[in-house]
Symmetry: C2
Subunit: 123 residues, 2 copies
């Protein structure tokens, strides 16, 4: 059973964290049966944290966890902080493969999406 | 002549700001002749700032500027700070329409892109 953990930075603003939770729900819908579980987790300022999010996936029966960073740039958070948190999760669950994907900002479709946003605002 | 101004938060990390500048170049490529100019600007910590970015567009001949926030959530930056900066730009250029589009995180394709990132990391 494969789980997808969507990692956001986390905000002091509850509505921003709720946006991420809603996004995880939409992602679960799009994923269909490719991921039996899709859940959000936060690097800081909101719950669950990343090891807690992995715990939830494993408790729900995940035999593998794919971690997708909802981040725009390859900064310290993506390069260091998330991997450090995942290392803690791996120590707690040594038999569960936990993989970090590319972050959102790296996807090749981002320029096209930005262009669509611009165009839509003019129509 | 229509310009597209891509607004990022700005970072103390130069490489993150350069990622945004590179993204603006890719966006210019994708935009083709729909926008005669595509330029980056930053809310803080990097140059140009937003009024400075609008100034550049107008100096290059823009008769309209579409502003696309490269942000993930509808926080204070998108709701208040960017509009405040755009108001300054409008006072400097009262004859130029300046429109703010939806921010990146609002786009309906984001869940699908996150799913593609997850899937790609497994292949």
């Amino acid at each position: 059973m494969q789980a997808l953990l969507l990692i956001a930075h986390g905000s002091r603003r509850a509505a921003s964290n709720d946006e991420v939770r809603d996004l995880a729900k939409k992602l679960a819908h799009v994923a269909g049966d490719r991921y039996e579980l899709v859940a959000p987790a936060f690097l800081e300022l909101a719950e669950p944290d990343i090891p807690g999010g992995v715990d939830q996936c494993v408790a729900a029966g995940a035999s593998r966890v794919i971690v997708v960073p909802y981040f725009l740039s390859a900064g310290r958070h993506v390069a260091t902080d998330i991997p450090n948190e995942l290392e803690k999760a791996r120590q707690a669950h040594p038999d569960i493969p936990i993989q970090q994907s590319d972050y959102l900002g790296m996807h090749e479709s981002i320029p096209e999406i930005l262009l669509m946003l611009a165009t839509k605002s003019v129509d």
